[in-house]
């Protein structure tokens, strides 16, 4: 694994971490504001987190798995 790939993988993880962290944080705030909407907020949060995670994994695989 060459150095640009390692740096790229690190950048991806930072980006995904910031994204999912923001989703989690905002969901917490929303739940604190409206505890009765807990279920709906949690579902929406999980979907958004899963979408970002999917892109993140695809990018990680592009940096690490593809030869050449």
């Amino acid at each position: 694994m060459s150095i640009p790939r390692i740096v790229g993988a690190g950048l991806i993880v930072i980006g995904v971490g910031v994204g999912i962290g923001r989703i989690g944080g905002q969901a917490m705030e929303a739940i604190a504001r409206q505890p009765e909407a807990y279920g709906k907020i949690q579902t929406a949060m999980l979907i958004a987190a899963a979408l970002i995670e999917g892109i993140g994994f695809a990018a990680l695989f592009a940096t690490t798995e593809i030869e050449g």
């Binding site: 579902t43 999980l46 979907i47 899963a50 999917g54 892109i55 994994f57 695809a58 990680l60 695989f61």
Partner: protein, 370 residues
């Protein structure tokens, strides 16, 4: 009740950790034959992630230096100018060449290659094997696990259905555990995403795919050492079914939304330059949706297995008393997270499938609303 549950959980996790640790200890001891410990551990992890042609749980090194594999061989089915069926015990775990009807086959990195009688593998300059690969339709470890899961699900849910018929809509035994889950999938996943009118059509698929992924994920955490949902072919097959169901059951409005996203809100002359960009994006979207489904499930399970195995491998890197408790503690914590991830990934796959089915079954009055 809670106490017994916790004890069972602790026991199961420690069993999982200890079994893997035991196996990698045996691998690590072979470090004398030139390879260093890190390569050894890496190879062991790589081997665990791959599908294999025999169901071997672990291997023991005997006193005379031979390895004794605990497990059983599985049938190998090849299509190579005619059907060839033989037992994978002929490969001796990749150590010897199998001769079938005058053809020679060898296992190399869990893949079957056609070789000469001596079992030579040719490489190109990137160290990839260039030997001919026959079409491999074998019953591998992963396939066996899929069969077992299918049988388990069939037996479990058909007996539950029968118990409902007998007891008059009151869940019994394990049905008390599964009924809330089934109801949750129906009410909060299917109805809320697809809509009251059309959700029934998709329920069988959603329930099946949820329990299939969940059970296989959980089997991946047992000492059996299977990694079925971490195999890209399995997740690809599941995603292709979602893709086909979405597009084959799509309503007229779904297709209209794809090829005419702006509708009547604009004269066609104004829409034309936009559509040169919009329609290719919409069409790409059809394929990207199932692709992200398959990558997400595959990568999550693969990553989980790599993390657990690496943490166990720490034990042999540290070579001091701190290694064992550290790696046990970390592997234990990650295993608990993995139990959550197993459920979460099954949920997300089902949820997103339902969301895509919801797009496919949108009606015109809904389309006008946004």
């Amino acid at each position: 009740m809670r106490k017994t549950f916790l004890i069972t959980l602790l026991f199961a996790t420690s069993l999982f950790v200890s079994n893997n640790a035991f196996a990698s200890e045996k691998e690590a001891e072979e470090g004398a034959d030139g390879k260093d410990l890190k390569t050894e551990i890496k190879e062991y992890i790589d081997h665990h992630l791959l599908d294999s042609h025999d169901f071997s749980l672990f291997s023991i090194e005997q006193e005379n230096g031979e390895k004794k594999h605990i497990g059983f061989p599985l049938p190998v089915i090849l299509w190579d100018n005619g059907l060839k069926v033989f037992s994978s015990s002929k490969f001796h775990h990749g150590e010897t060449v199998a001769e079938v009807d005058g053809n020679y086959y060898k296992l190399y990195h869990s893949k079957i290659y056609k070789t000469d009688a001596a079992g030579t593998i040719n490489y190109d300059d990137k160290h990839h094997a260039t030997n001919e690969k026959p079409l491999d339709l074998s019953i591998t470890k992963g396939v066996v696990m899929i069969f077992i899961t299918c049988l388990l699900m069939f037996w479990l849910f058909s007996s539950l259905a029968k118990s409902y018929a007998k007891n008059g809509s009151i869940p019994k035994g394990i049905g008390r555990f599964f009924e809330p889950i089934v109801l949750y999938i129906r009410d909060d996943i299917a109805i809320s995403n697809i809509g009251e009118k059309r959700y029934k059509k998709y329920m069988p698929f959603l329930l099946t795919v949820f329990f299939f992924i969940w059970f296989l994920n959980m089997f991946g955490l047992t000492p059996l050492g299977v990694n079925v949902t971490g195999n890209i072919a399995v997740t690809a097959a599941l995603a292709i079914i979602t893709f086909l169901l979405t597009n084959l059951t799509g309503t007229k409005d779904y297709w209209k939304h794809l090829f005419d996203p702006l509708g009547d809100s604009m004269p066609w002359l104004g829409k034309l330059p936009l559509y040169i960009i919009l329609i290719p994006i919409e069409i790409l979207g059809i394929f990207i949706k199932p692709f992200s489904l398959l990558i997400r499930l595959y990568a999550n399970m693969q990553a989980g297995h790599i993390v657990v195995m690496s943490l166990i491998g720490l034990m042999f890197i540290f070579k001091s008393w701190i290694g064992s408790p550290l790696s046990f503690g970390l592997a234990f914590a990650i295993s608990l997270i993995e139990i959550l991830v197993a459920l979460l990934q099954a949920y997300i796959f089902t949820m997103l499938s339902a969301l895509y089915f919801g797009f496919a079954s949108e009606e015109h009055d809904h389309a006008e609303a946004h």
